[in-house]
């Protein structure tokens, strides 16, 4: 029993520490990355994993030391897991739609081509109508 408690103690400490380090890396990424899209990479991935690890650590702590199974923490993990990729997607999409440029060292942009083609198609249709 004694050793089990020690193992769980270390697991909790490691989970929380890991989560905090990843949150820090996500924040660093926000500062260092050159454009919106790359920042959104850092914010969606590292920060999500960081928050999940901290929540999991808190859940383990309450489950084993206080004897309290917190379903709210589990639900929190689930919700963060589900919503953060969607938030990243919407941020990136809104930025692109409102004309935020990619980083100057970006190598290709297929979407721009597709949008131009679509516009061309729309304008040619207008001409036909007129």
């Amino acid at each position: 029993m004694e050793t089990l408690t020690t193992i769980v103690e270390y697991a909790v400490v490691l989970a929380v520490l890991f989560g905090v380090v990843f949150c820090l890396l996500g924040a660093l990424g926000l500062v260092r990355m050159p454009d919106v899209y790359l920042r959104s990479h850092a914010a969606t991935k590292s920060a999500t994993l960081g928050v999940l690890c901290v929540l999991a650590g808190a859940f383990l702590y309450f489950a084993l030391f206080e004897g309290h199974i917190s379903a709210k923490l589990l639900l929190g993990i689930l919700f963060v897991f589900l919503t953060s990729p969607v938030a990243g997607h919407l941020n990136g999409r809104a930025a692109y739609r409102s004309g935020v440029k990619l980083w100057r060292r970006s190598v290709r942009d297929d979407w721009e081509k597709a949008l131009q083609q679509k516009e061309k198609g729309a304008s040619s249709q207008e001409n036909v109508r007129q």
Binding site: L25, D35, A42, S46, G88, H89, Y96, V107, D109
Partner: protein
């Protein structure tokens, strides 16, 4: 699948009625026995047994978790490296998935893969525009997505 699950629960409740045993343990035993009955009578169902689909969903969740870890490490590596030597870009990805929820799950999974972010899904939801952090070889990246995620989602559909 939902019909089979409902049937299994109904059998379990019948078992509880027969024993007059209204506990969680009684429900679980009834559920296991009901599952055996469903397995025995599986040739009368039009669809395969629901356990198979459940297993495919669990596998998809495991892939989700694994990719989250891998991608976090990949992004962290880029963040702490002293020089920014990545080559970002947007590439297109054609998917074979059809229904809305399948494309949604695929887009969410792509948002969590190493260095990719879904930017736009075309109107007919066949083409995805994906922003990649390091676009060395877009075809290889697309192939990887196809092999891991699309296959797992298709497995859920067919199971």
């Amino acid at each position: 699948m939902a019909f089979q699950l409902l049937l299994n629960m109904l059998l379990s409740i019948t078992w509880m009625f027969l024993n007059n045993d209204w506990t969680a343990a009684g429900f679980i035993i009834g559920f296991a026995l009901g599952l055996l009955i469903l397995i025995a009578f599986r040739r009368f169902f039009h669809q395969p047994l629901y356990v198979k689909k459940m297993w495919a969903i669990v596998k998809l969740l495991l892939i989700f978790t694994k990719e989250l870890f891998v991608s976090s490490f990949a992004v962290a590596k880029h963040v702490v490296s002293p020089k920014l030597n990545m080559r970002p870009g947007i590439f297109t990805f054609r998917t074979v998935l059809q229904s809305d929820w399948e494309v949604t799950i695929l887009a969410c999974l792509i948002c969590l893969t190493p260095g990719t972010l879904t930017l736009e899904i075309s109107r007919d939801s066949r083409t995805l525009f994906i922003h990649a952090m390091d676009i060395e070889d877009a075809d290889e990246l697309a192939e990887q997505i196809k092999l891991s995620f699309e296959r797992a989602i298709l497995e859920v559909r067919h199971a």
